[in-house]
């Protein structure tokens, strides 16, 4: 314990380094800082994620894209986290971690392909991505991360595992079983909770009577910390420290990133039914991208001109990537049967043959 002593969530502490004005405050002793180059990478990644979302939304409105879940406003969480990890560290996402996925080298067209409704979008060889596919049953995947972390220790590697979830997912029984096992096994896993304040229409206050998500960790014998999830520097620092700790075999950490779902739950959702525009407006002030832009401008790492160029590149890339998707062959009848088992059993061969007629 003690790594986050100065940020005990039970005392209302929150780790935040880059404020809304884009001013970077000196971190506590020993907390790592993103360098300028990294800040730039983070910026490109987040802007790309934003552009991907915006294009997906308009594609959905055009009837070219089925239900799609947006990352708008939450980009700093998975972006900062994945920048703090090694490429071979395991990444077990929920479904709002586009930034992190891009950093893992997932091509945009494959990402779009998933949401387009093609299983090829989740074809992720572990040796290439060290990343699990999107898990639709909320809260059920974190325990996989614990198993992966156990396996890596067993195999004698020092790879750590980060798993993401929303604050709503922390209500599911499997969250509890995952945390309890991680504590007992001292598993090298980081539970990153994106507390975006909403689970579809349910606000965080009604999700749990606990004042914070972070303090739930103490009931499992490990540390939890609350951070500003829209602050790329805070995310990077917290995950980096937690990862070092995990690598040293000192066990799990729970990080609650305070963030906000600026958009609808998915393209099928209408938030005006359950929340006020004012709240959303307030959070727009805290947009992780604007904040980083101000920082980059102040530091003269980027000019406004550069930023426009970056945004345009991203928009173009998004559009081109989706065109690839629309040109992609749909899965065949065989594909529907081929991947149930390594070797197709006779009963499936027969059902397939019958369908072919």
């Amino acid at each position: 314990m003690g790594m986050f002593e100065c940020f005990d969530p039970r005392e209302g502490k929150i780790l935040s380094l880059l404020d809304e004005s884009g001013t970077l405050h000196a971190p506590p002793e020993g907390f790592p800082l993103l360098g300028d180059e990294q800040a730039l990478t983070a910026y490109r990644t987040m802007v790309m994620a934003r552009a991907v979302d915006e294009w997906a939304l308009s594609l959905n409105r055009q009837g070219r894209m089925p239900t799609y879940a947006l990352n708008e406003g939450q980009e700093a969480n998975s972006t900062g986290a994945l920048m703090a990890l090694r490429p071979d560290d395991w990444f077990v996402p929920a479904f709002r971690e586009l930034g992190g996925m891009l950093l893992r080298g997932l091509t945009l067209s494959q990402y779009y392909l998933y949401w387009y409704g093609n299983e090829e979008g989740s074809k992720l060889p572990p040796e290439t991505f060290a990343m699990m596919p999107i898990a639709v049953p909320v809260g059920s995947h974190m325990v996989h991360a614990v198993g992966i972390a156990w396996a890596e220790r067993y195999k004698g590697t020092d790879r750590v595992t980060v798993t993401f979830m929303g604050e709503g997912a922390t209500s599911e029984g499997d969250f509890h079983e995952a945390c309890n096992l991680a504590g007992v096994w001292k598993a090298g896993v980081i539970f990153y909770v994106q507390n975006n304040h909403w689970a579809i229409s349910l606000p965080w206050e009604k999700q749990s009577a606990s004042p914070t998500v972070a303090e739930k960790a103490f009931g499992y014998g490990f540390e939890g910390v609350r951070i500003d999830g829209n602050d790329i520097f805070a995310v990077y620092a917290a995950v980096k420290l937690a990862a070092e700790r995990a690598r040293r075999g000192e066990g799990p950490t729970l990080i609650e990133g305070l963030t906000y779902r600026l958009g609808a739950h998915t393209t099928s959702d209408d938030p005006s039914r359950y929340r006020k525009e004012e709240d959303v407006k307030r959070w727009r002030q805290r947009d992780p991208i604007i904040r980083l832009e101000r920082f980059l401008l102040d530091r003269e790492i980027l000019t406004g001109e550069d930023m426009r160029t970056i945004r345009d590149e991203c928009v173009t890339w998004a559009r081109e990537s989706f065109e690839v998707v629309e040109r992609t062959e749909d899965p065949t009848l065989e594909d529907t049967f081929r991947y149930l088992y390594r070797d197709m059993p006779p009963i499936l061969q027969e059902q397939l043959a019958r369908r072919k007629r």
Partner: protein, 327 residues
Amino acid sequence: MKVLTLLEAVTDGLRSEMAADQSVVVFGQDVGVEGGVFRATAGLQKDFGESRCFDTPLVESGIVGAAIGMAVAGLRPVVEIQFCGFALSAFNQIANHAARIRNRTRGAMTAPLVIRTPYGGGIRAPEHHSESIEALFGHTPGLKVVVPSTPHDAKGLLISAIRDPDPVIFLEPARAYRAIRQQVPEQSYALEIGKAKVEAPGDDLTLVSYGAQMIEARQARAALAAEGRSVELIDLRTIYPFDAGTVVESVRKTGRLLVVHEGPQSFGVASELIATALDKAFDALLAPPARLTGPDVIVPLPRGERHYLISAEQVIAEARKVLAYEP
């Protein structure tokens, strides 16, 4: 009478039972303020108050488990699971408690709760949003499993489910939610659980289906009629306890049986109906009873779903085979 979609009929059924019985409470994820992801509970919180219709955290097992406690304490909880695929996390509560409390206590306690959940494919949804798991529930002693295929049945069967003294899994065909509009009585009415419906009489073939698949079954019957083949169309409506009598009677008359449904073939509903028909109508069979079901695979994502769903053409083709069979 008013014209309603199946979805509106569900809301109407909930509404009329909530008005009639104070012990009926409706809860689940996003059913309150939001009115449900499909809007099945729209307006209920506004009209009946937060204590009668409310949102819960993300806890499928907890929702069902709490409903069991409420039911034992004398209430009539009606819970919603957003998609039936997510009901699997509540399967322990459903099968090991809800289904068993009456037998466990020799009738001293009961769990008269209703679990409403959309099922089935064809809605271009992500993974886990298109399953058909009625046979899992049907194989679990102590449960009743109901699947309406029309607005009229949806309201009447839901009302019966809420009044039923035992736990009922109420599977709502998502693909049919807005597909059909139908005249539905204003007032409250109950349709008997455990009774199939002969939707249209016929002499040459007994065609059994349920839920959204009834849409293609009806189209197939019409097409075959045009060819001069007379098909008796049965809407099973209750998966358990299923109405063997109605099916067998029809098969004894036609001598030919085709069961069509979306869910996986092995250990599925069609296999059960065929085994049952055999028990009781073997001597009357003119052709081997046939199954046209989903294969034993995972429902594909939208771009491949057409390979899984059963079209009217496929029903027609299969029916022709059964009709053509020469003993």
